[in-house]
């Protein structure tokens, strides 16, 4: 005698038969299917960072891939590994994914050796985004320290491309020394936009540097901030955004109008591997973009 047990075939589920779309969080999907993409262009930014332009090969997948500033992708180099990288490009530039990547480990190391035309895998986009809708009609502070300009570049694009939606825009950027400045070829372009001010500071000047020297908070001396009319996006190492947000908070900018992007180890991007978990908060799902009040309540965030 035989008892035929229920044989469940997950491939028969309607949801899983739909094309993979990571923006539909709750839909059953092939969570580890990557979109094959080619490196279409590589721009060297500094000794340590390069900007990669990726183009998803499949046309339908490329059409479906939409993201909002602040989100990230999981970038896989088969055989090497998978890493979370925030998207640096413009959300309006369809089909092109720009990733600014520092050479820091196995996967990023091999990417820095990769040539144009090489194939990589992409999953995403994942995570929360900067609330640019809510920021409309306000003064905007866009503040980056070091590699923080990589995630900040996406909202810079979003704000400058939709200039009439926002009031005064101040971009503040600081690095250790002039050799570490990212995207230096774009500064002139940003500066020339009406009502956009770019302020740059380095901690240690070299012979050629004629700009400001000091910590990024020094730049606040030059900027007029109307606390209740201002939204801020702050990207950088914890020690930097801690001081920046403390200053803004002191002058009266509400903490829930300051947004930071946290960095954590991630192995999935989908709230499963727990590596980015801080208590009950998953940086990959509840973040990486958090308002500063939430960050203050995450015991270990800073």
């Amino acid at each position: 005698m035989k008892i035929p047990l229920y044989h469940y075939d997950i491939m028969k589920e309607r949801e899983i038969q739909q094309p993979v779309d990571f923006n539909r969080h709750r839909r059953l999907k092939h969570t580890d299917k990557t979109f094959k993409a080619e490196i279409s262009s590589i721009t060297t930014l500094t000794d340590m960072e390069k900007l990669f332009h990726l183009r998803i090969l499949d046309e339908a997948e490329r059409e479906r891939f939409t993201f909002l500033p602040g989100q990230f992708v999981m970038l896989e180099v088969p055989g090497y590994g998978e890493v979370p990288i925030s998207i640096s490009g413009s959300p309006s530039n369809k089909g092109l994914i720009e990733l600014c990547i520092r050479k820091a480990g196995t996967v990023t190391g091999v990417l820095h050796k990769a040539k144009r035309g090489a194939l990589v895998g992409i999953r995403g986009p994942f995570g929360t985004h900067f609330p640019l809708e809510k920021m409309k009609g306000y003064d905007i502070l866009l503040i980056a320290g070091g590699l923080g300009l990589a995630p900040l570049r996406a909202p810079i694009f979003a704000v400058t491309e939709n200039r009439p939606d926002y009031r005064k825009v101040d971009i503040m950027y600081g690095t250790k020394d002039p050799s570490q400045l990212l995207f230096d070829y774009q500064y002139e372009q940003w500066r020339r936009i009406d009502g956009v001010n770019l302020h740059i500071i380095v901690e240690k000047a070299d012979d050629k540097w004629t700009g400001d020297v000091g910590l990024i908070t020094k730049l606040f001396d030059k900027i007029e901030i109307v606390p209740h009319e201002t939204y801020a996006i702050v990207c950088g190492p914890p020690v930097m955004f801690k001081f920046v947000c403390a200053y803004l908070s002191k002058i009266g900018v509400p903490m829930d109008r300051m947004f930071v992007s946290l960095e954590r180890r991630m192995h999935c991007g989908m709230g499963k591997c727990c590596r980015c978990n801080i208590g009950s908060t998953y940086t990959c799902i509840d973040g990486p973009v958090f308002d500063y009040w939430t960050v203050m309540n995450l015991k270990e965030a800073i």
Binding site: M1, K2, I3, P4, L5, Y6, H7, Y8, D9, I10, M11, I16, H25, R26, L28, K29, H30, T31, D32, K33, T34, K36, E76, P78, G79, Y80, G81, E82, V83, R102, A104, G105, T108, G117, A118, L119, G121, E263, R264, R265, H267, C268, M270, G271, K272, C273, C274, R275, N277, G279, S280, T281, I285, K299, E300
Partner: protein, 346 residues
Amino acid sequence: MLFKLLDKDEFKNLVNILLQSNEVIAPKQVGVNVTGKTLHQYLPVTSFDEIDLTYETTQYSAKTYFLPYKENLSTYRFDEKDWKQEIRYRQEPRVMLGLHACDIHALLKLDKVLARDNFPSPYYIARRKNAFIIGIDHEPCEGGFCRSLGTDTVNNGFDLFLTDLGERYFVSINTDLGYRVLLQVKTKDVTEEDTRKYLLTRKSISDAFQTHVNVQNLPNLLDLEFESKVWNKWGQKCLSCGSCSMVCPTCYCYGVTERVSMDFKSGAKVKQLYSCNLVDFATVAGGHNFRPNRETRLKYRYYHQHRGFVESYDEPKCVGCNRCGRVCLAEINPPDIIRDIQMEER
């Protein structure tokens, strides 16, 4: 829920029928420890005699069959500059026989994270839906504090659930499949007397619990006592070996690595269960470690179990099986830590 009575001989018949055409996983004695206590594991069995349903607990939880220690998330076939990605999910049905209530509760908790929340996991769901689960009641295990967590009894998450009434089993039938499977053997209807016997058995089991822990106030308390010295005390003992997470029925965290075959023709993206107590758990690119100290890592384990999970799902992640306490080489016993934290309050 429907109820039936099943004579033990008929139960043996049922298991033999199931064994004929299905993979059956059941508790099996694997050895004896230094104090003479028998050790059990959930293992594939081929005959009824291998199964020991009187087992106290298993060293590993049933999680192993739903979240295997290691699995391929995808495989790659490389061809010059190009590659082909392949993804497969487990499809064969499998009988999980003799699970205790805590292990079934653990699966219900895992369901919340892996089957129902954001990004449901097809790997987990394929295994979960292909599992035919037969649970069984048991006397409290040593050190187990499932009663304090409300996981000593279970109302769903299984197909059949057995309660030993001596000569026969009192069977709770929770699914249509469970009912149909039971039709293959002879069962009896439940009389009033049987129900009384069943309730008495249940009562004697629940009265037998020795270990009690108050977990109600933990979510708030863990926030208040975040800087407590209790964490240093227990953290100093911790060897950061990660054994607790391996045996835990609800720990699901993992790491991903990639493997390449020796001839470079194929590769795999391999998922391997991890532990938040391992030293590099939160190390990011560039080398910064958000949790360099073992006391911090130990604390975050409790933070997730008794605060984080509660915030997300209104219940602790812990089921009180105390496998982690039993396996710990440093004798870190969860009820002791919880009591210590609560002492801080006074």
